[in-house]
Assembly symmetry: C2
Homo-oligomer: 247 residues x 2
Amino acid sequence: MLAMALTEMPRNANVGGRAHACESCAARALSICSAIEPRDLGRLAASRTHQCIDAGESLLEEGEAATHFFNIIEGAVKVFKLMPDGRRQITGFLFAGDLLGLAFNDTYTYSAEAITAVKVCRFPRRQLERLLDEFPKMEKRLLAMASNELAVAQEQMMLLGRKTAHERIASFLLAVAARQARSGRGGERITLPMTRTDIADYLGLTTETASRVFTSLKKQGYIELETAGTVRIADRDTLEELATGLE
Amino acid sequence: MLAMALTEMPRNANVGGRAHACESCAARALSICSAIEPRDLGRLAASRTHQCIDAGESLLEEGEAATHFFNIIEGAVKVFKLMPDGRRQITGFLFAGDLLGLAFNDTYTYSAEAITAVKVCRFPRRQLERLLDEFPKMEKRLLAMASNELAVAQEQMMLLGRKTAHERIASFLLAVAARQARSGRGGERITLPMTRTDIADYLGLTTETASRVFTSLKKQGYIELETAGTVRIADRDTLEELATGLE
DNA sequence: CGACGGTTTGAGTCCGGTCAATTGTCGTGG
DNA sequence: CCACGACAATTGACCGGACTCAAACCGTCG
């Protein structure tokens, strides 16, 4: 069912740089370059599957057997949970370099969907488990990553439980800016690949409120909206005060 | 500063069953009974410190150097984050058997305070790191725990971002009931050691709203309030429908 | 018994949600 | 090239659930 939604990349897309591309992909996938010997990367690469997913397609669904995990090579992904009546909470956005599906349960506890067209590298979970036995340093790395994610999750609880709509949007914009700065694109100009509805579902708001707050921040001169998806941070200091609740 | 707030248990409190008590405590602390050889537990026990903390006292504070972690032997603890203006989000409640402070950052990213009088077993973090090198199985265990906590955190985001006040309280009561059933005390009668304000700060509500919802659920016959802190779940099915959003 | 902290209840307000209409954007096909 | 349709974003009017402020109640403990 999952496989149906996914499109295998044509074999020859990789011809030429195949081994190298996949080794580096494998290494990045596990963020354990320092923990694995380069010569061992080939084995990982052997069982990888490159895939392209269209915007809007599902990568995995809550409740499904957790058989694989993904390394996002390109594009943006949203991770979310649904209530029976359709209410949705997006628990995170993932971008190039992020890992998806690293659950240690039998089934996924969340769904994931492509926001833009996405390239991923898919690994069987069993493979990972074998690797963990072999390279204990990887486990430590994963533990650190999980610990970090947990801290991020707690910060998000603070946002969802206690911040106002303005504070939420300000926090969100700064977080995206920080993330995009970390991964190359520096500067005050940030790109929002997700819709206002996605942003709202991430921040516990409605589309309308999210939109209104964007307009309000623009009118106050804190941000500029070149298009709906391109934001320039005009007054970072004030935005930061807003985000932390000092304003 | 942290140490000031803590009261060393009198040495002789442990005389007699010392070694045994602390070995079992150490084992429980790490939830790795299956991963550590019994004869190795003594080393862990050697560096443990038993402590008693009064209700209301702080166990650790956000920003402090993360030098120790704790095993809660008895009592209830709240974990929370604060905003500069005093807004508070409680990110979790911990009870006997739970671990606290297992961060892999240099400083704690949250504060923790005793709700009731609490007995803890305190370990230096360095000790843990040495053990992790020695017993790789522990790492896997910790990874599974972290992964599980992450799933719980995402569930809480759903609650904070999308559920109504009634749904939040219903979810909370059922979660506490499940937790108390798991740790022995079965049945429909649950104990809430925390105040209404704590519950509200955990669920992203105000004290008043929390209280009103309790009264409302009581009037509808879904729960009974023997005292403010003792709740009998009278209609679990309806409460479950409420919690999941089917009602 | 009286003081104190926690809980409950009441009255009124407001922030963010709902419903609805309009505008903007972009890809497609005539 | 432009008209059209689909979907996202914005804006407006109104509503209501949860918040605020304030008072009363209750249980516990000195």
